[in-house]
């Protein structure tokens, strides 16, 4: 029995890891794009500001408007402000219910829907962490690069990026560990991840220990990640 449960939970863990890995793969870069969006200083109506001293005026509102930044911030607010479970349900059932078009009907459709929901959700959280990391790098670092004739992308990749990574390792590790456990939400659209795999024995054989046994898998998974994060932190401790 123990062996059967163990193999079935390993399969569940595999599904959880697949979701985890795919989410990171897409959400880590997408989060950076969203972070840049939220920091965008593009003001297309800036020309309206001339002669508008009154900061409360309607015209001034448009002059100061940063549409990309504003739009990104609204999206991040909505995604962070609603439960991931709800987003998952909307993304998976929404197309079929409202548009009579179940786009997830292909073979791995459930997993795909799940990855999409997780990527959207997590990239928004990551974007805020990235933004904090980028804004935490002193302005003087960028200016020093500019004065030396570096381009904007050279400044980002050669100067800001590594300093940002060093700053975001602790909050990122938090978020990524949360992601490990959030994979259990996938069961809401009938994906057999760890919890669902363990719970199945409660229904079929009336035993509860497989459900609690799943905790060992989560702990091991998170344990490995913790070691990895400590390693990265140590690797980056050569500078301050």
């Amino acid at each position: 029995m123990f062996l059967t449960v163990t193999t079935s939970l390993v399969k569940g863990l595999g599904t959880a890891m697949e979701l985890f890995g795919l989410t990171l793969l897409f959400a880590l870069p997408l989060g950076l794009v969203i972070a840049f969006g939220s920091m965008s200083k593009w003001q297309p109506f800036k020309f309206l500001q001339y002669g508008q001293e009154n900061p409360g005026s309607f015209v001034r509102f448009f002059a100061d408007l940063r549409p990309i930044s504003a739009l990104t911030n609204v999206i991040v607010w909505i995604i962070r402000g609603t439960p991931l479970m709800l987003q998952l349900i909307i993304i998976f059932y929404g197309p079929g219910l409202w548009f009579d078009n179940n786009i997830w009907s292909f073979s791995n459709g459930r997993m795909a829907a799940c990855v999409v929901a997780f990527v959207i959700n997590y990239s928004c959280y990551f974007s805020v962490i990235y933004r904090g990391g980028i804004e935490g790098v002193p302005q003087g670092q960028r200016e020093a690069g500019e004065v030396l004739g570096m381009t904007k992308s050279q400044i980002f990749f050669k100067i800001t990026l590594l300093q940002m990574i060093k700053r975001i390792v602790p909050p990122m590790s938090n978020e990524i560990i949360t992601l490990v456990k959030d994979t259990s939400l996938a069961r809401i659209i009938a994906i057999t991840e760890l919890i669902k795999a363990g719970e199945a024995y409660m229904k079929s054989d009336g035993i509860t220990w497989p459900l609690f046994y799943t905790a060992v898998y989560y702990l091991l998974f998170v344990g490995v990640l913790t070691i990895l994060f400590n390693f990265i932190e140590r690797k980056l401790s050569y500078f301050r």
Binding site: E143, A144, E146, V147, L148, G149, M150, Q163, K166, R240
Partner: protein, 254 residues
């Protein structure tokens, strides 16, 4: 011919006028000291010269070429600013060394990134970097990271980093203000050596004796205006303007 000519430079932030009608010129191989109290516009002037701020009026000419003219938008193209910046070097008050790079890498990084355009070899760049560090008395610190260096050493690396780009004019923004008093000497000595080698420099400083001794020309600024400019000994020892006298009186007390 003057290497640098600044004509009627104006800068305001909102309704605050930070620079008013700033005009001066600098000959090749000369050093110019700028003194004045905090908020007098000295730092903003250096930032305008290095294109970190965009002036609202006036022009900046280097070697007879107009780099910036507020009245001529074709001199303000974003693309060209990067190249124009290279006429100037800037040493910051708080060093701004890149913490993830060693002293030597700090000095060589920008030139390595530019080697695609200039075709310089890695060896040439590293050799030049080592020579600059040696000139700064830091040959044995080449492989140290900034946090392993004292403030004075960090500032000397920053000076080497600026020199590596061969700027026409090297600007210092209060280079010793963030240093402990016992560390200012080593930085001032390095700047003095540069002056003796006829490096064209603009030095914003609160070290009055240094400003007087190292420079060929001195400017006293107050509230965004040039109040007095001329021979450093004359301005500091025998100021003509009441405001200069008033400002210098604070320093003679200490």
């Amino acid at each position: 011919m003057a290497v640098l000519e600044v004509n009627h430079l104006e800068k305001h932030f909102g309704s605050t006028r930070v620079l008013n009608d700033i005009s001066f010129s600098l000959e090749k191989g000369q050093a110019l000291s700028i003194i004045g109290s905090s908020g007098s516009g000295k730092t903003t002037l250096l930032r305008c010269l290095n294109f970190l701020e965009t002036p609202n009026g006036g022009s900046i000419c280097v070697n007879g070429k107009t780099l910036f003219d507020a009245a001529d938008p074709s001199t303000q193209l974003e693309k060209e600013i990067r190249r124009k910046r290279l006429h100037f070097g800037l040493v910051f008050q708080n060093f701004n060394l890149f913490p993830q790079y060693t002293a030597l890498q700090n000095v060589t990084l920008a030139r390595e990134l530019m080697s695609k355009e200039t075709g310089e070899s890695q060896d040439t760049i590293v050799k030049a970097g080592k020579e600059l560090l040696e000139q700064m008395g830091l040959a044995d610190r080449a492989n140290h990271y900034p946090h392993q260096l004292s403030g004075g050493q960090q500032q000397r690396v920053a000076i080497a980093r600026a020199l590596a780009m061969h700027p026409d004019i090297l600007c210092f923004d209060e280079p010793t203000s963030a240093l402990d008093p016992e560390l200012t000497g080593e930085v001032l000595r390095v700047i003095r050596n540069l002056a003796e080698q006829r490096t064209t420099m603009i030095i914003v400083t609160h070290e009055m004796a240094f400003a007087r001794d190292v420079a060929d020309q001195l400017i006293f600024m107050d509230q965004g205006f040039i109040v007095e400019q001329g021979d450093p000994h004359q301005v500091i020892d025998h100021p003509r303007e009441e405001r200069t006298r008033h400002f210098l009186a604070h320093y003679s007390e200490t």
